[in-house]
Symmetry: C2
Subunit: 442 residues, 2 copies
Amino acid sequence: MITQESADIFEKKKSILLTNVNDGTGMVDIFIDASETITDIGHEIRKRHRGEAEYIIEGDGALVLPGLSNTHTHAAMSLLRGYADDMILQDWLSQKIWPLEAHLTGEDVYWGTKLACLEMIRTGTTAFNDMYFFMEDAARAVDEAGIRALLCYGFIDLGDAAKREHECRATEALAAHIRKLANPRIHAATGPHAPYTVSPEGLKWCAEFSREQDIPLHIHLSETEKEVNDCVAQHKKRPAALLDECGVLGPKTIAAHGCWLDDAECALLGKRGVSVSHNPASNMKLATHRALPYRELVHAGANVCLGTDGCASNNNLDLFEEMKIAALLQKFFWNDPTILAAPAALAMATTNGAKALGFGAGTLTAGAPADLILVSNRIPCNTPLHNAASNLVYACSGAAVETTICAGRVLMLEHEIPGEAEILAGASQAAAQLVKRAQSTA
Amino acid sequence: MITQESADIFEKKKSILLTNVNDGTGMVDIFIDASETITDIGHEIRKRHRGEAEYIIEGDGALVLPGLSNTHTHAAMSLLRGYADDMILQDWLSQKIWPLEAHLTGEDVYWGTKLACLEMIRTGTTAFNDMYFFMEDAARAVDEAGIRALLCYGFIDLGDAAKREHECRATEALAAHIRKLANPRIHAATGPHAPYTVSPEGLKWCAEFSREQDIPLHIHLSETEKEVNDCVAQHKKRPAALLDECGVLGPKTIAAHGCWLDDAECALLGKRGVSVSHNPASNMKLATHRALPYRELVHAGANVCLGTDGCASNNNLDLFEEMKIAALLQKFFWNDPTILAAPAALAMATTNGAKALGFGAGTLTAGAPADLILVSNRIPCNTPLHNAASNLVYACSGAAVETTICAGRVLMLEHEIPGEAEILAGASQAAAQLVKRAQSTA
């Protein structure tokens, strides 16, 4: 329920009062002025702010959470959702994914990222960590969508010096482009793809560039057993040690997957304060056969967060589903039903994810970014409500999210997102034409 | 879109014409007359039936599927959703679940089953296989909800002859009660709980009673390694062999879990034509540490279908989520991304599930039960639509279901279910009072 005409609540930042929302401890009100942060939060603070608020959203007992952070994805791969599944990783990449990606244009990445942002807004994600190509077009989509993103160009040199030069220039260009945008919701990162696709020289350059620019570094690490074995054969050390030698590991590093990390690598990542992004759905679908050593990483002091990976290998961007699959996979693989309890899974998607991405606290406190979501309490997955954290992690999907606010702006209100039909149509058309182009040259 | 006032479309069976629905091969129309079966299905058959139809539901490209079959659950445990999680199985049962269940009343089971049916209708399930207590009250809830259920009383004798007598009488009483209801949507089954909770004498009695009444038999089988080891220690044989010796295994048997079945047991279950219900979310959450040997069972000729288990150990009844987790777990555990491809996962929840429950074909063909669901095509999880089966299994959750029809009656139309608020309120209240009763005697 909103007190005024809702037509323009989506248009720009408004001062908003949320009343009667359940933050897990009880009913609170939240006031967001025209800034991008939470101005005030507490029990019945509505009395103080009712006069100032341009809009009042009556929460009516809805659960309120910080917006979720997706710490590893390739957003524009939403165009490839369902294009190829149930295949051996190498066949899947070489026969299906790469041939299609060879035909990608900037316009495709724009539409794919638009679709991805739409899905994230719908399922409660307000910030994501993206690695792909044509990232200027991705930035355009993120700017329009109203959520936050850390964008990097996927740097791949395959040990070739000329390629490396090209990738360095592309990385610099993206960082310069994003600096020029001066949009506080869009940050640049360096994106060396993985230890097996980037030479030590390339890794060192990326680490140095990240330090120089003071920007995060996003990399794939130890997803499959094969890449670990290949690394040991080639470099006489395991991947994390190789990355450390190249200066890649630090508190601004986000390493995705980590399925095959051994104890010493966990200790090293913890010591360096690395964020490790667990991507359980993708890992299971592609049969990595080992789960992230969650407990060892946490024990070592690493910041363990959550990612969906791209839609070609998941096939959605729903972090609620990912929280559940993470908690389930950890219990099943490590043979202990007490690992990764519901509150810890929630923390992975909120505080830990926010810490990894660097946009803000990932908490509901005055001064924190006004990135928050309302989850319906009048649906089966939240009935009964013995334990909010349990229901959010184990019973709800992202479809339970009814309202999404990012940087103080309402992006979805009671399941309505303006312009949704146009985005779905544009992305469908881009995907169909991409497949057509690929088939015409196949 | 519907052509007439929708107020009474829910009230009783109407003749319904669905136009422009996508059955995976292309756009079809479906006509359901006032009977409980599909009368006609095909391309543009609307011309033949437009005059007869009391209601026209314009599918507008929505995907159409047979209603899903949940082949193992304890529906009323929806009241325990989120009551206790992340615990060791034995502690969880003895400290949390059993003490609460000791206070269950028939009215609780009624409300819990109402809530479960609501959630199933919302997520596209039109038939389920239920084992619990106070099953006359469960039958009342199923009758009102409009879906189908195979109901059994959970028979547990723990080797005690007096208990066994009681359980036999309870089993007979439920079968007689359900026969008297004469509701074609509600069937009785025999429910020997498991080989470790029912004596061989009890198992034999259940097998004999099932044969005599010509009704299915529903049992837990080889969920944990411990129960298998205990069985071998006590009976000098593995659980499936024990069941076979007691006459329990046959084409009307539905055995749930099966995580620890060995090759010989798979062969035996296949030979007997048993339906095996895979419950991957529950198995992962409770850390069974081994996944159903899906490929061996299929190879042996068993009918492998899908179940959610109860809400205390899942914690929802969403078979879309279960299809995804099944496909993911099989790939991950058996180390092969090609196992349980999307079409096979869909078959588990449709044709295989329907075969197990015995209500009908689980297909969209003239003469099949008019149990069908429409899944929205204008949402992110179905955009783009390269492959409907892939999107349904890997991208969508049950929230993508917009319309549910069972036995020719519309139970949900464009996400609206009549009486939903009352069911949520009634179930919430029953759950709260149940916990209060348990705490007051703790």
